[in-house]
C-alpha cells in the first residue's frame, strides 16, 4: 500500500547512504511496547499534591469577588491560589519572540472572557479533595454581554473581548488591524475576466486530542532549584514562560520532558508548568497540574475555526488571473498563537499556484470562546480546505478536469510567488500526475508532459509593475519594533545558505561526493540584515523582565 517512486528527481539525490533512507526501528519503540517509556506523569513523588482550577461558568463576566475561605478549610486542602499569588499574572505566549502584547492572566482576577477561564487554583492532597474544594470556592460574578461569531465581533458596538485591542482585532506591525497581502491588481483582473468564481468556507474548530492530556509535575530540587516534568512540545518555550511568569531566573528551573503522548500542537501553550512550579514554591512539596479529558476538550486550546471568502478571476481556458481572500481566524478570548498563524497563512497564499494578481485581508478576531492555538497544519489546513474546494468550483465553471486545472495553474521552479520570493524545489505537478495515473484518469498530453522543473520563470518570475495598495484598517496609537515589519531594504534576491544548509557527509567508498554546490542560491531566503533597531522595552512591566528569557533580540510590539 506504499511505494517509493525513486524515478522522480533521481538526479537530485544519491540513494546510497549508510543509515539515511533505511527503515530503522524507532529508538523508543522497546520502551513503548513494554510500557516503560517515561511520560511526564510516570514519575513518582512522595507526598504529591494535586492542583485543580476554579473555572468561569460564563462566556464573559467581571469578577467582583473570589472567596476561598470555605475551600481552604476543606479536607486535604493545602493552599488556594488566586491571581495575586502569581508574580507576573499577565503573559502572551509569543512575548518570548517579542510579538504581541501581554494579554492573558494566568489566574484571572478582574474579568473572564471565555467559559472555562481559570480564576483560582486549589492544591490538595488528593485529586478528589482538590475537586471537592474547587466547588467550595465562591465567585461573585457580574455577567457581561458576549460575542461568539467572528463577523459579529468586528461590528461596531460588539462586546469588547480584550481592552487592549480595538474592535476585537489584533494589530499587525503597529499599523493595520489585519495582515495584508498585495500583489498586482486583482480588481483590474476581475474587470476583464471571462468568469468570476466566489465562495465562502468555514473550517471547524478542532481538538488536538492527544491520548495523554496536557500536564506537568513540579517539585523542589536540590540547590534551591525546581524540577518540572512536563508534556510540553517546546521545552525551552515552557521554561522561558515559567521564568517570566514566576519572575525566576531560568537557571533555577530544571525542565525534563521529551517523551510525550501525542501533541499535534496542543502542548505548546505552557499553561501547566508555571502553576505547578508556583504550587511547589508555595507549598514546598511536589505539585501536579494536569487537565482531565473534559478540560482537555473544552478548556484546552483548539485549532481555531477559520472563515474564508475567496473570489477568483478565471479565463475560459482555466487560467486563474486573480485571487482575492478575506479571512477571519477565530482567536477566542486571547491571542496565544492565532496572530502568528495568520502571518504563516498569508505567506502561503494563493496556494501552490502561480496567479499574477493576489489580494488578501486576514483578520485575527477575538471572541468569547476558548483561546485558539497551534495544531498540525498550523495556519494552513483551514485555508487549504478553502482553496482546494474552490479549485473544484473553478474546474466546474470552465468545464475542466479538476486535475488538469491544478496542473495548468501549478507553480513551477522559478515562478514569483505573491509574497515576492521565487519558487524552487517544486513538485506539485508530479504529485498530480502520479495520482491521476494511479486512479486511471487520462490527462491531456500537455498535462502529462508538464514538469515542475520547466515552464516556470521568465515572465512568471516578474514582480508586477503595478501593485494596488491601500491604507484600509490603519490604526493609530500602536508602536512596533521590527518583528515581522519589513525594513528599508528592498525585495530579497538570492543569498548564501547557512553553513550547515548543505550537509557534508561521511564519504562512502565508491560513492559520489555530496550533491549540490554549497553556493547554490536560496531564493526563499531573504538577505541577512544588520541588527534591526532595538528599542528599549520601556513600557514592559519590570516584572516581566526579571528572569524572563528572550528568544529574539528584537524589541517588542507594544502600546505607546
Amino acid at each position: 500500500m506504499i511505494e517509493f517512486r525513486k524515478e522522480f528527481f533521481a538526479d537530485e539525490r544519491d540513494d546510497d547512504l549508510n543509515e539515511i533512507g533505511k527503515p530503522t526501528r524507532r529508538q523508543d519503540i522497546l520502551g513503548h511496547v513494554t510500557g516503560r517509556s517515561p511520560f511526564f506523569d510516570d514519575h513518582q513523588f512522595d507526598g504529591l499534591l494535586h492542583l485543580r482550577c476554579v473555572r468561569s461558568p460564563h462566556h464573559h463576566a467581571r469578577i467582583r469577588r473570589v472567596d476561598t475561605s470555605q475551600a481552604e478549610k476543606m479536607p486535604g486542602v493545602v493552599r488556594v491560589l488566586t491571581g495575586k499569588d502569581v508574580p507576573t499574572n499577565l503573559n502572551t505566549l509569543l512575548s518570548l519572540l517579542d510579538f504581541g502584547i501581554d494579554d492573558e492572566p494566568i489566574l484571572s482576577d478582574k474579568k473572564v472572557a471565555y467559559r472555562g477561564e481559570p480564576v483560582a487554583a486549589v492544591i490538595a492532597a488528593t485529586e478528589a479533595q482538590a475537586r471537592a474544594a474547587v466547588k467550595a470556592v465562591r465567585v461573585d460574578w457580574e455577567v457581561l454581554p458576549h460575542v461568539l461569531d467572528v463577523e459579529e465581533a468586528i461590528k461596531p458596538g460588539a462586546p469588547k473581548v480584550l481592552d487592549i485591542y480595538p474592535n476585537n482585532k489584533f494589530i499587525y506591525h503597529g499599523k493595520y488591524d489585519h495582515q495584508k497581502l498585495r500583489f498586482g491588481d486583482v480588481e483590474a483582473a476581475f474587470a476583464s475576466a471571462d468568469h468570476i468564481v466566489e465562495g465562502r468556507y468555514q473550517m471547524s474548530p478542532i481538538e488536538q486530542a492527544p491520548i495523554e492530556t496536557c500536564g506537568a509535575i513540579a517539585a523542589p530540587e536540590q540547590n534551591d532549584r525546581y524540577v518540572c516534568y512536563t508534556s510540553t512540545q517546546a521545552l525551552f518555550f515552557s521554561l522561558g514562560t515559567a521564568a517570566k511568569v514566576l519572575q525566576t531566573p531560568s537557571s533555577k528551573l530544571h525542565f525534563v520532558g521529551g517523551t510525550v503522548g501525542g501533541g499535534f500542537g496542543g502542548k505548546v501553550d505552557s499553561i501547566h508548568e508555571p502553576l505547578a512550579i508556583l504550587g511547589a514554591m508555595l507549598t514546598g512539596r511536589p505539585v501536579k497540574y494536569a487537565w482531565d479529558r473534559e478540560e482537555e476538550m473544552q478548556v484546552g486550546a483548539p485549532r481555531g475555526a477559520e472563515r474564508w471568502y475567496i473570489k477568483d478571476a478565471v479565463n475560459r481556458d482555466g487560467r486563474i488571473t486573480a485571487r482575492k481572500f478575506i479571512g477571519y481566524f477565530d482567536s477566542g478570548a486571547y491571542t496565544r498563537l492565532s496572530s502568528y498563524a495568520i502571518i504563516k497563512g498569508v505567506g502561503h497564499l494563493p496556494g501552490p499556484y502561480t496567479i499574477p494578481n493576489v489580494y488578501a485581508d486576514v483578520y485575527c478576531v477575538y471572541t468569547n470562546r476558548t483561546p485558539a492555538t497551534a495544531m498540525r497544519g498550523f495556519g494552513i489546513t483551514g485555508v487549504d480546505f478553502a482553496i482546494e474546494t474552490h479549485m473544484d468550483k473553478v474546474a466546474e465553471t470552465v468545464g475542466l478536469n479538476p486535475i488538469e486545472l491544478r496542473i495548468l495553474n501549478s507553480y513551477r521552479d522559478g515562478d514569483m510567488k505573491a509574497h515576492r520570493r521565487e519558487a524552487k524545489n517544486c513538485a506539485l505537478v508530479e504529485c498530480c500526475q502520479v495520482v491521476a495515473e494511479k486512479a486511471g484518469i487520462t490527462l491531456s498530453a500537455e498535462a502529462r508532459a508538464a514538469t515542475s522543473l520547466t515552464g516556470g520563470g521568465g515572465e512568471r518570475a516578474r514582480i508586477p509593475n503595478y501593485t494596488a495598495t491601500d491604507q484600509n484598517g490603519r490604526v493609530e496609537g500602536f508602536d512596533t519594533g521590527s518583528y515581522a515589519r519589513k525594513s528599508g531594504s528592498g525585495p530579497a534576491a538570492a543569498t548564501a545558505q547557512p553553513s550547515t544548509a548543505q550537509p557534508a557527509r561521511a564519504p562512502q567508498p565508491g560513492s559520489q561526493p555530496a550533491s549540490r554546490p554549497a553556493s547554490a542560491s536560496r531564493p526563499e531566503q531573504a538577505p541577512p540584515r544588520a541588527d534591526p533597531p532595538a528599542k528599549p522595552p520601556e513600557s514592559r512591566p519590570a516584572a516581566s523582565r526579571s528572569g524572563a528569557m528572550r528568544f529574539s533580540s528584537l524589541s517588542g510590539f507594544r502600546r505607546r
Partner: protein
C-alpha cells in the same frame, strides 16, 4: 484521614498487597499505590482504553474499576507481557511500526493479548472489534491491525 482498604491481589503473577483509598480507581491504585506505570490515564471516563488491564483474564478499564474490588483477583498489565521474554505481540508492534507516541500502546497490547488468548486466529473484523475500545490518535490503526494479524497468522517472528 481517609478510610483505606487493604487489597490483596496478584499483579502479573506476583502476590501484592496495598491500601486503596476510598473511591480510588484501579488505575490510580496501580500507578501511585503499587508502582506499575504501564496503564495510562487518557480520560478517566471509560472512553479511550489507555488504562486497559486484565482482571481475571477479562479486559477492564482500570479507571472505572473500584480498586478495592480486585481484592483476591488476578490483574495483568502491559508491564507483565514481557516477563520473561517479549510477547510476540510486542515484537510485532515493533516490526510493524504500530506505535508512534506510544501512549495508547500498553492498553492496546493488553486488548490484543486478550483477543489472542481466547481466539488465536482472529479475522480482520475480529481484530477491529477487539481494539475498538482503545483509541489511537497517531497511527490511523492500520499498522496496529497488521501487527496483530501478523501474530495471529504466525507471520511475526516471536
Amino acid at each position: 484521614m481517609m478510610a483505606k482498604t487493604p487489597v490483596n491481589f496478584t499483579l502479573n503473577g506476583n502476590d501484592r498487597a496495598a491500601f486503596a483509598e476510598d473511591g480510588q480507581n484501579l488505575l490510580e491504585f496501580l500507578r501511585r499505590g503499587v508502582g506499575d506505570m504501564s496503564p495510562k490515564y487518557g480520560c478517566g471516563q471509560g472512553t479511550c482504553g489507555a488504562c486497559t488491564v486484565l482482571v481475571d483474564g477479562e479486559t477492564h478499564l482500570s479507571c472505572l474499576v473500584l480498586a478495592e474490588t480486585v481484592d483476591g483477583k488476578e490483574v495483568r498489565t502491559a508491564s507483565g507481557l514481557s516477563s520473561p521474554a517479549l510477547d510476540p505481540l510486542q515484537t510485532a508492534f515493533m516490526e510493524h511500526f504500530a506505535a508512534q507516541c506510544g501512549y495508547c500502546t500498553p492498553g492496546m497490547l493488553v486488548s490484543a493479548r486478550a483477543l489472542l488468548d481466547r481466539n488465536p486466529r482472529p479475522s480482520r473484523e475480529e481484530v477491529i472489534e477487539a481494539i475498538s475500545g482503545n483509541l489511537c490518535r497517531c497511527t490511523g490503526y492500520e499498522p496496529i491491525i497488521q501487527a496483530i494479524l501478523a501474530v495471529a497468522e504466525g507471520r511475526a517472528r516471536a
